[in-house]
Point group: C3
Chain length 276, copies 3
């Protein structure tokens, strides 16, 4: 199986070109779209989504991820053999968080021209070099055939939160279709941190604004008058709003820094002038 | 075959997660996307689309529909065996109009945890419970294995129009990509009602505005200066505009009430100050 | 394999209906989406995309293209057997540039009602007539069975540029997801024309505005302060902006006429008051 993640959008011929090339080489392979709506050139968003979704794919899946502002330059194309999957894409870091999560076995540089299309453009190496390579890989060409072992590659580190006794400083890494704001705070560390503080209230701060924040385990248990924080399905805590877009209610977006602070009791907080 | 209908959008990892889970369990099943662009939380739109499209799918198709504002609460997940297809989704009514159209054989509550993912979140039961269940069902696990017979379920009734001798009162249930406004008026009853009135003209009323309305059997036969009413491909009459968006020309949207009224002759109407 | 190109959008049941009909007739055929986001009724855009992507698809692929403002009228439906692929769609020109590029073998009119759905609407012939026809074709029904040889068909000519010694007059035919502006200038003729002019600079003119224009072979080599012109992956030159949208920076859109002019030296140009 081959899974595709790009910033190509849905309206052009780009995604279809990848599929056409792949299916010309291996007509029987199954192709699954992860998303083609990554914000143009946003490597961090691509890396985050790939890491969130990769564990659910069957062993042996080949991920082709193309968010590639350096296309046509001398940036390399890399192929990674991980413990469970293969990852192919430009050497700009987007593959690394997902691949490191499962463990790297080997990284190679895609260089073997016999696995490229016979002519290639400098503006669409996804179609002309990477798509044929993943198709040949899916047909059984050995991983070692595609090029030499890579001696180094670009890193990309998803930003990590700081846990302090009474606050967490973090970042919004992704805003989903519903306006839920995915933070950089992993679920389990948050729950450990929050366990001894259940009697207290939480507040959310972003820039100079602050709001009372309700912890819930599921959307349905939330009040509808304030933001919620809950364990998200990607393994990170999310800021949400019941049946509404937290992003538009709060005016917070991907990339924004946030602070989550403990206050002694909800009552105290509610007495203060909270909210916008 | 498994067909997916959700409000997940295309930009996130949600749809890909469903597919990854399904294909991990049943690598050979065919997955077809109905739409992932249902308006967030809009159960009526989901129910309408599912009912419109289900009859065209092959016998045995399993529909997984997830528009699920109650995710993580104690709302049930139901599985319906219909006369021609299976339907799986949250117990909030979205499956019912499509399933009742073909006839229900049995409704079960999805409870058998051995068909869930080994760990599950409270924010994404589509991925963690429903997707594995439909995958196991597609692999041949008997329908009876997934849980007990349901003793009741949420109804959802698509709003019905009122036919009066000289007018029809109805509602816009869906606005499609072209700006065509799908009404709640089924085609055949409309044609029967209209048969004896062919000499007369029609007018469309919405709130306090009114327009002359031309009945045509196909877009191509319409004038381009006024709204058209024609038999839509979903089995309902549609308000349209030739090569333009009726929704933006008329300022009418899904959820709006409309009245279609007979007037003695087109000439009379056209003499009046009709339109916006 | 069947490849679909339509202006149906992603939010409705239209595309799913096509797939449901096709898979009911031929459950084993592979369906690939080229795009469903063609601008509504835009035949030129459909023709351009189909021509750009068709060569990458495997021999024998059946293209079903539906951008069909004349649906339900007496416009014909045609089926084309090309040298490498089949093309099916309304007789309004959208198939022609792609089919002529590879060479036509035979054109037939789709008329054999036994290959339609048993009942058909006048508003969705894509689902009711074309989808079943391509499904039967993919199952091996001979091309000759679908109707008589067509005696004529609508032409659609992609607009061609004029090459003058010191300028090229052309048009923007498509604006892609990144805001890159695809021109009507084929790559090789441009490179031949430009070869002897490498010492000179280029300027781009659109309406009364003008900008210095940098020729590069790949995005990565561009400056970020001015528009670029580079060989696009569809075989045409593109106006682009490094990691930004040329369309919004320049205010140019599909359909606009442009002129690319040679100036003696870049220095001269930069001294002038160029740009917006």
């Amino acid at each position: 199986m081959i899974a595709l993640l790009t910033d190509f959008g849905e309206k052009d011929y780009f995604v279809a070109s990848l599929k056409a090339v792949i299916l010309s080489i291996n007509p029987r392979v199954k192709i699954v779209d992860i998303s083609h709506e990554i914000e143009a050139y946003n490597r961090l968003e691509a890396a985050f989504l790939l890491k969130a979704v990769a564990p659910y794919f069957p062993r042996g899946t080949i991920f082709l991820a193309v968010v590639d502002p350096g296309v046509g330059s001398d940036r390399k194309i890399i192929m990674i053999k991980g413990k469970k999957h293969f990852f192919v894409g430009p050497d700009n870091g987007i593959l690394i968080p997902a691949a490191e999560e499962e463990g790297l076995i080997e990284v190679r540089e895609l260089r073997a021209e016999k696995y490229f299309l016979s002519s290639w453009s400098q503006t669409f190496e996804g179609r002309d070099k990477m798509a044929p390579a993943v198709a040949w890989l899916s047909r059984g060409v050995p991983f070692e055939s595609f090029g030499p072992i890579a001696t180094g590659w670009e890193k990309l580190v998803l930003p990590a939160p700081s846990f302090l006794p009474l606050e967490i400083r973090a970042e919004i890494i992704h805003c989903d279709r519903f306006g839920n704001l995915v933070t950089t705070i992993p679920v389990q560390p948050f729950l450990d941190w929050f366990k001894e503080k259940k009697e207290s209230g939480l507040i959310l701060r972003c820039q100079k604004r602050r709001w009372p924040l309700q912890y819930v385990s599921a959307f349905a248990y939330g009040l509808s008058r304030q933001p919620l924080i809950l364990p998200g399905s990607s393994g990170f805590m999310e800021i949400a709003w019941k049946e509404a877009s937290a992003a538009s209610r709060l005016g917070i977006k991907a990339g924004d820094k946030i602070t989550i602070k403990v206050v002694k009791s909800r009552n105290n907080l509610n007495k203060n002038k909270a909210g916008k």
